[in-house]
Each structure stands twice: as structure tokens, then as C-alpha cells.
Symmetry: C2
Amino acid sequence: MGPVHLTSTRPETLPRLLTLLKSASSLGAQIVLFPETALTTFFPRHLITSPSELESYFDSGSTLLTSPNTAPLFSLAKDLNIDVSIGFAERDDDGKGYNTSVYFSASKGEIVAKYRKVHLPGTKEPFENPDAVNQLEKRYFEPGNLGFQAFRAPGLVEGVVKKDSPGADADVKGRGDPILGMMICNDRRWVEEWRCYGLQGVELVLCGYNTAGYAPDLWGTRKPMTPEEAEMDAVFHHKLCMQGNSYMNSCFSVSAAKAGLEDGKYDLIGGSCITSPEGHVLAEAKTKEDEIVFAEIDLEDCRQGKEKTFDFGRHRRIDQYGPITVQSGVVEPELLE
Amino acid sequence: MGPVHLTSTRPETLPRLLTLLKSASSLGAQIVLFPETALTTFFPRHLITSPSELESYFDSGSTLLTSPNTAPLFSLAKDLNIDVSIGFAERDDDGKGYNTSVYFSASKGEIVAKYRKVHLPGTKEPFENPDAVNQLEKRYFEPGNLGFQAFRAPGLVEGVVKKDSPGADADVKGRGDPILGMMICNDRRWVEEWRCYGLQGVELVLCGYNTAGYAPDLWGTRKPMTPEEAEMDAVFHHKLCMQGNSYMNSCFSVSAAKAGLEDGKYDLIGGSCITSPEGHVLAEAKTKEDEIVFAEIDLEDCRQGKEKTFDFGRHRRIDQYGPITVQSGVVEPELLE
């Protein structure tokens, strides 16, 4: 998706999503992923002090299928028989905010899975430096409290005998519905999240994002870079994470950016792409505007990795991994001397 | 390194290492990494039934600095003031076998760290298929029992005030000796090992390897590939792991292959490389023969990642990572229906 501005209204933005959905349908898409906070600008870059303004960027997690701001998307998805995953700022019934993605199953006509972003980047307080672009996700959102729950997307695979079907032919390699997992933006840089999905046999990871192309070096630790170099590096890092983690967990991935100059001046990278379980990029965005990135994939391609190099049960050594769940931060080894 | 053959003798192979060490010294190298099982062929590809033949590929872990098979290497390293890390098949004092790396500190004149490979690939029993190339590491070696212990390499950084020095100037950003970690071959594909090192603040990962360029598809799950395509893909996967995990743990890495047609016919990939904390390849091998891959690196380049995007203490959510240390293999999500 191209940018959505602070001045963009819901009635301007929603039709863009519907147009994209129709275009995807004409290509034969079965699943469409929209970016993180696809319905609005990426507002956490701003310190918003007006409660009513802040609320205008949020949607209730429980009324997505009925609210006029969102219902037309899911209604069209059902009509087109396309599953849709989309990111939005969620206000839950207790008034808490989350950076959320849902998965809508066209065959069920329901939201069958919800994910709340766990790895919130940025800070709670705005930067004092007036040149800084804020990243206030830690202010507006709670860390996700739904874990990393992979799920089977019903009704997507035609003509494949399910493992538990009574009439399953022993000669047919049975499989259940595809196993999917959702993550959001910064989550994709965290190997633990990918592994938690991998440990559920995930075959396809969906990741929407809004990633800044350039930010002033407030830490003073970076080598000097032009904005163009910084953006190239940010796209490189994005793809490196998607490719590397897809390979190391033997799964496909789809990532979808909101890109371009949002609010007229804050550069977001593009780089939406689809990667294979061998870590290759199968398709990628060519623009920073509204655009379809499409690939036809065969989930059987996950098997080579899952049954050989990354056969977790045979090769993982959990007795050695203790620090990963015990220790958040760095504990340096003692000096030898 | 180019290949070492079954027919290669120790007195043929050791001088190659000494020559490489001298060449590295002439470039000003402070650390040299040799490959996995650098002293012999990668013998786990063979079913060896003669105990005396098998023992000829092993070295005692406790006599490296005195055995004529290895002492000249460390003696030269001390003379040249170069730290050396090298992989070898280790027979410990209890008769157990390990796939091991050691780190020799020139300034100490001692082996200051030892690592035993944790992620042993392959099988215990040879394949029945006569076309298969065996990978019998699980037969000849025990899984490493020394954990992932990062260590500080003494005496490598000149003129930098140490944190614990009595006269440390408050205006100087102090650092201790560089923090290193060792891994071996297949280990590099396992994010848990990188993360365990990352959680110790690792600045430089050393990884020797022997990776087959092509093997028949015994699993029947891979798309048909020519040997050339398979080798290109294997190099791609190698670099993807080194680049991705360096980036996601904000550390440099050095990887060193034994490459070429070993034992005259078993193809090993090249691709030895040095990667930066931003995931870029700084230097890489151009041949599959004995060759120096050299880069000068600044460990301060790790800071940007460690203090910002990958500031573990601020961003990791260990309460969510439970399955990683509890569950070896895959547990698929329940069917929704």
C-alpha cells in the first residue's frame, strides 16, 4: 500500500483496500494480506494529546464485521471467497490498546484468528530532540497478550485428503488445512517468534509492517549515511529477516508494507515480498504505491526443510537453550584475566 | 581451505596450515579461523569399521600444544602473535568423541576456550541407498557438552581503556576484551545458538564448516536440481544464515570452509566469508583452494544494533518464548473444525 495520511479520511482509505482486493481476486488470490495499521496513518510517530483524535485511529476488535469503517472489506472478501488478514490499532472492550492483526476466513465468514504485536519498538515518552521522529508504540499499545498462536486456515486447500478424514486414502499424503501464523512489523526481527511458530509447523507467516526509511541517529553510533543509503539498508534488513527466518523455519512468508511519504513527509520503505521455505524471494513490490504482490505457492515445498535439515525433533537440543527464556538482556562473560 | 583427502597424511596437511598462517600474518591478521576438522578429511562421510583407522582422524583435546601433529601450528601462532581457532575431531580423556573447536590466545600462549558442536547433523546408521553420501556425525561424536560459552579474547584490542582499569578516563568509552563465540558448521543454521551467544553480548562469531554441495534426494521432497544449482543454493543458505544471524544478534561473524572435491570426489561448498553486524558480507572466498579471506573490523560497529533495534533487555519478551526450551519437535495446532 502507498501512504495513508493524517488528513486521509476513512471513506477515502477503505475504497483503496476494496480496489486492491478486487485486483487480487482477478489474479486468483486465495489469501490477501494488508499492512500493519492499514486503515489509518501510522500514528505512533506522533505525540497525540487529544483523546478524541487518538481514538479516531483505533477500531474496536469486536465490531470489525459490523462497523461501517471495516465491514465492507470483510463482506467483499466473503463475496470474492478470499481470506483476508489486516492490521489495525485495536481498542479492546477493557479500553486497552493493541497493535493487532486478524485473519478472516471467507469460507467461515468469520474472523478465525487474532494476533497482538508482542515486540513493540520505540519508547513511551517522546524524544526531546526536535529532529527525531517519534515511535510511540510503547505508549499507545500494550504488548500482545495472545502469544504466538499458529492456526489452520479452513477451506483453502482443495481436493487434498485430510489426515483425519474417515475416507482418507492411504496412498494420498494427507494434510490438514494450511498452518498459518501472524506477526507485525518489528516482530519479524525476533527469531524467537519465528521459532515459536516453527514449533507449531507453520507453513505460511503473514507480516504487515510500517518501517521508517530514515531516522536521525539519536544514538550517535551509526556510520554516516545518506537517506537513500539508509533506506536501501532498511529494505535489505527487512528482506534478510524474511528470507533467513523463512529458511530456518521451512515456511513461506508474505510481508506487506505501507510505503512512501506518509503524512506527506515521513518516509516508509517498500519491499513487500513473498519468500519461500528455501529463503528465496518469489515476488516483491516494484513501487511504493498501492500494488498487488502475487505468488502461487505449493505448501509441500515446506517438507524438504521440515523433514531433513530442520527436523526439529531430531536436531534441536533444548537442554542447551535455557538462557533464551530465562534472561531478557545481556550478561557478559567474565574477563578471563 | 581446499580439500584434505583420505590419502592426505598429517605431514602433508599441517604445512598448508602453517603457510596460510604466515600469509595471514603478512596481512596483519590478529585472529585466524581454520575450518571444521581442518587437520583431516571430513571423515564422517565414510563408514569406518577399523578402530585404528578411525582413531587416525582424532586428536586428543589435552595434547594439542605438545603433539607433533598440532604443536607447530600453535607455536607459530605464538611467534606471529596471532590468535588461532581451529576445528578437529576430539578424543577426550574418557574416550568420547566430539566435533570440537579451540581458541588459542597468542598473548597467553594457551588455549583459552573450547567448544564442542551441539547440533550434530546426519544419522547414526549408514544409509542403505548405495548412492547416498553418509553423514555419520551422530555415530562418531557425542553432542557438545560445554554449552554456548562466549569468552573474552585477551590482549587483542590495543590502546582501549578497559572498564575495570584503575586509571580509566571517564571520557573514554571503555570496553573489555572482545567477546567471542565459536560454533561449528550445522550450528550456524540454529537461531537458538546465535541467540545464546547474543545474550552474552557476543561481538564476533567464529564458525568452521564442511558443507556438501550436492547430495541425492533421499527424502524425495526436493524439486529436481542439477548439482550446480544445488551447490549455488547451499552457498546461498550458508551466507543467508551468517548474514541474518549476524544482523539479528548485532555481531560480526567469520566462517571458514573446507572446500572442493574432498577424497577426490565429494564436493564441498566454498563461501567462507566475514559478515558485519548489519548483515553485510565484508569479504568472501574467491576459490575453493587454500586462500586467505581477510577483513579489518571495528567492534564498535556492534553498538548501533545492540543499543537500539536489538537492545535485548528493552525489547525481548521472555514470558512469550516458553516453547523454545520446553518442546523439541513440532506440535501442530488443532484443526479449527
